[in-house]
Symmetry: D3
Subunit: 135 residues, 6 copies
């Protein structure tokens, strides 16, 4: 019998992608609820729960791949946020995306940087809001 | 005045990709020698010489991207060898490629694993040849 | 002499893609009217008029391909509507798109589902408007 | 607790892709045995075991997608054979691939037809060998 | 010692892509200023400054490639404008994009034409504004 | 009534791609003869017979696009030969392919150069054979 991939995957999804991951799952509820389950079970329950690669390296790999493919901006946004969540710095994310100019061309890197700028701005704006609240 | 990007890039190319990198450069000598120079100067002299990302993360990013793009098997081969050269383990390379099934589909991951198997076999065969020689 | 591919193609375009197909053709009128003609003649007059594959299978093939390619959202929208027009059910469309997670990755499938949700919502809203009108 | 996805997937893999599917799994045994398990569990145990789409339509979708993506010839070969196994005719496969000229260009369709010709030739040669044996 | 690639590239960028090129560079100032420098030095300082291909042919090549890749609409926009700047006519641009239907499929060509229409409309509107001003 | 696209296309195919084009058509004879007809009629009869773009620019566009897409080596080979046939020089072809490093990455350009080298070598070997024969 298999371990409970769903519970394990859901915990991983929350750890890594936080609210953004949950929103992806919620969006699938009406149109393809089984797909939400697969998304939790296979990428998060199976792949991200493997011990062979640290989470930072996982996130570097996915930011690189989605930047190179260049046709999945909403997912790149989620994973840049996720990379920040697991400790990849903004500077490292920029380095990974810049490097993709070599492997997938300058337009792919430029569009990746543009997505990163949006995520970094949202983070900064949440942080100032939180700072105001604390004051 | 710019630093000597060519010398710096050539040293980086040799450090990372070793003989395989040199072979790529040699192949360009007759048809596009300037392109060999650009290859040394921009990816290696500019990008890989930046301090913001360690070489292991650089190599994880490029193995991920080339596996996901799925149309550059010769380059993936060079970079898997390069990843081994800078200390990424075979197990970590396999993890990165497997993860691409999530982002670029199972065929991309299967073809990436197939390229990795070839590189790993070549490494093993060189290692046994070296062991025999030492005996 | 060739059969009248234009007339045959235009009839096919209207049968399959309805108003959405006509809008694509209209949009080309100012910038590339010959391309509108080619679009009617080759895909619709030649390919879709062939007897060897039923229209449902044609539409399943194109929804799969455009989801997998992941860089043609406006066309995927037209073809999901077209698939509904020729009798593919919403459930079958969701299955085809979900399956693409295996062959082109989860981001491609997620973006395909997102496009499908928009088309299904537009259909539902037209149906309620029609129901109100009839009441 | 989840149903036994592995057993269900393995049966599905054998039903659809026969020996070619088994060969893909065997090839993974040394380098990434867990990936062989995921391949059986997710695409075959989860996706292909769903009741919402008949196997012929599943195979039409995957032949279309792999032809359009154009970077997974070994997998296209397996799935063309699989399509024949579940009752898609050679003529229908040719129609699906030809149609991809519209959505992914003539080179993608030409390369898909070239893969199909190889599979059809292998089938014909196995059939004549079997006929000789029976005689 | 290398020639001053930055100065040469910046002059080329201004000659070819005008204000649109400058805007791309400005956008990178906060997030990745080094990447702005690479963009000026490698594509413009190295590649576009080579004498072996006239600027019109360069622009035809890049409009073709970005239309075919289909995942870089913002860059296609800049390069269609750049093509007009170096003397490619609107009619020639339309021909190049239409031709991509053959090599990358009708959706890629349709989306390319849609981007071209936006650029041509912006040009027309700037020209009427200038005409009014002169009157 | 339409002009005879087939005759016009066949003449164009022979003018541009010579024997290599004829071989592509011959290869389709057994598996998809209608597709051979479409290939002659649409790309050659319709697109290449248009007066709005000279043949050299057409070939530059297609060499650029196929290099950038990176998944159609056999077609790139035919079109590099075709580019030579209509007067694009080897040097210009190399420039176009090198430029693709900027838009689609270094691996795409490297693989394109590798295909060009094969075509140029075949041309050189045919030319020496012809020189020997004349001697």
């Amino acid at each position: 019998m298999q371990p409970n991939r769903y519970e394990q995957g859901l915990a991983k999804l929350r750890e890594i992608d936080g609210e953004a991951g949950q929103r992806v799952v919620d969006c699938l509820a009406d149109i393809a609820p089984d797909f939400a389950r697969y998304l939790i079970e296979f990428p998060f329950g199976d792949i991200y729960s493997r011990p062979g690669l640290d989470l930072k390296s996982h996130k570097i790999a996915v930011v690189a791949a989605l930047t190179a493919l260049g046709n999945a901006a909403p997912q790149l946004q989620v994973h840049i946020q996720g990379a920040l969540n697991v400790g990849v710095t903004q500077g490292e994310i920029v380095e990974v995306i810049m490097q993709m100019a070599v492997y997938a061309g300058f337009p792919a890197a430029l569009n990746g940087l543009s997505t990163a700028r949006e995520v970094f701005a949202a983070v900064a704006s949440m942080q100032s809001a939180a700072a105001v609240e604390r004051a």
